[in-house]
């Protein structure tokens, strides 16, 4: 599915991460990361975000990640939520749990 608008998910609370996806037409994934644990986990957070985007089939997007110590499971959840919000289509009854969402 195609990104149609800016999609945001998550909060700036501790243990959470806020993800913003903005549609672009070329240039691949342009990722900006801010994190309270960037020195220890920066690379891992980026890898987790990119892996989720790849599963979801996102090729081009501007991605802003504002992390406050989220676990991997939260990072994935927020990327997926931001993606489906950016796609703006009704997915009830069709979410691919265990497929692209995993």
């Amino acid at each position: 599915m195609e990104l149609k608008a800016v999609g945001t998910a998550g909060t700036l609370e501790s243990s959470d991460v806020m993800i913003t996806l903005e549609p672009t037409t070329s240039g691949g994934i342009d990722l900006t990361l801010e994190s309270s644990v960037i020195n220890q986990y920066g690379r891992q957070i980026k890898a987790e975000v990119l892996a989720s985007l790849e599963r979801l089939g996102v090729k081009n997007a501007k991605v802003i990640v504002n992390d406050h110590g989220a676990l991997d499971c939260t990072i994935k959840a927020r990327v997926e939520c931001a993606y489906y919000r950016a796609c703006q289509c009704d997915m009830d009854g069709k979410f691919d749990w265990g497929g692209v969402i995993r």
């Binding site: 609370e13 243990s15 676990l71 991997d72 939260t74 959840a77 939520c81 997915m91 979410f95 749990w97």
Partner: protein
């Protein structure tokens, strides 16, 4: 990474069932450390309408990746009068939760509707059909009056719970110390659950500063025969566990009954008297066994039964 969970046990010990907002990562990651028998990850009232989508993604990954150990994981889904419940069921089943709490249950048909959607989801996601348990929350006079048919509506159903907030609103009453305003609902629901052979849970106590009031309510719950209680704060857990724990005297009595019954049964005797003159038959045995089970769960049993 995925944590495999054992097949849920329909009639396990459920003294404490603690609500957690499924949308809050800070809460759900530590949910199991508090020692509640069950946690209830909430997709319903704790989650704002514009975050219903977000909560499902959090829930899915939490179910898949957080090791909850022996803690039972129940999910409270949105009511059947909302557009959310079907997708809620899909994510619950795909994530492999132990059970689903149906909000605002008013009829046996409500339970059957959920049961069918759960079966469909189990087939879709390759989960053993019948694995996912159900419990029904009664939140209105209509739900309470229909308790008996609700209690018998599905083989997946392990229990019913009262939800005091909405019930009191419908009845136009407020919280009264002593619980006179809830007496009929509690009593009726307990009878229905026992008649149907399922468990029964009391509503939450929301004033966290009123320790004495909380203890009084738990004491009443125990005396009325509830299996457990819904909770909103971890500090309530040890209080319920302590108050549900049997006394040493009760444990000794239960042991005596179980042992004596086993001895007499092997000799073909069904009714006998204990040394204190009490007449015992098979009707006393399940209660005595329950006392032993509770004592074990409370960590105070030192015998060998």
């Amino acid at each position: 990474m995925s944590i495999p969970r054992p097949k849920p046990e329909k009639f396990r010990l459920r003294r404490t069932m603690m609500f957690m907002n499924a949308q809050k990562p800070g809460l759900i990651k530590d949910a199991y450390i508090y020692g509640a028998d069950s946690i209830m990850l909430d997709l319903e009232d704790a989650v704002a309408e514009n975050q219903k989508d977000s909560a499902r993604f959090s829930l899915y990954h939490a179910l898949k990746e957080i090791d909850y150990g022996d803690t039972e994981v129940i999910v409270r889904i949105n009511g059947l009068d909302t557009p959310h419940w079907k997708e809620d069921i899909r994510v619950c089943v795909a994530g492999g939760c132990d059970g689903i709490r149906i909000a605002k249950t008013e009829s046996a048909q409500d339970v059957k509707t959920v049961d069918e959607a759960v079966t469909e989801a189990e087939k879709e996601f390759g989960v053993e059909v019948g694995r996912t348990l159900l419990m029904a929350a009664l939140e209105s006079p209509k739900g309470v009056l229909n308790a008996y048919e609700i209690c018998q509506a599905s083989p997946r159903l392990f229990g019913v719970a009262l939800s005091g907030g909405d019930y009191r609103k419908c009845m136009q009453v407020k919280v009264i110390p002593g619980g006179i305003e809830m007496l009929a609902a509690r009593g009726h629901m307990l009878m229905a659950a026992r008649a149907a052979g399922i468990q029964c849970f009391d509503t939450v106590f929301t004033n966290l500063n009123d320790d004495e009031g909380f203890r009084a309510e738990v004491k009443q719950n125990v005396e009325m025969g509830f299996d457990g209680k819904s909770l909103i704060n971890p500090k309530q857990i040890p209080i319920v566990h302590e108050m549900l724990a049997p006394s040493q005297k009760e444990i000794a009595e239960a042991e005596k009954i179980v042992r004596a019954y086993r001895e007499h049964a092997s000799e073909g005797v069904g009714v006998f008297t204990l040394d204190n003159g009490k007449m015992i038959d098979i009707a006393f045995v399940p209660g005595a066994e329950r006392v032993i089970k509770l004592a074990k769960a409370s960590g105070i049993y030192e015998g060998d039964l």
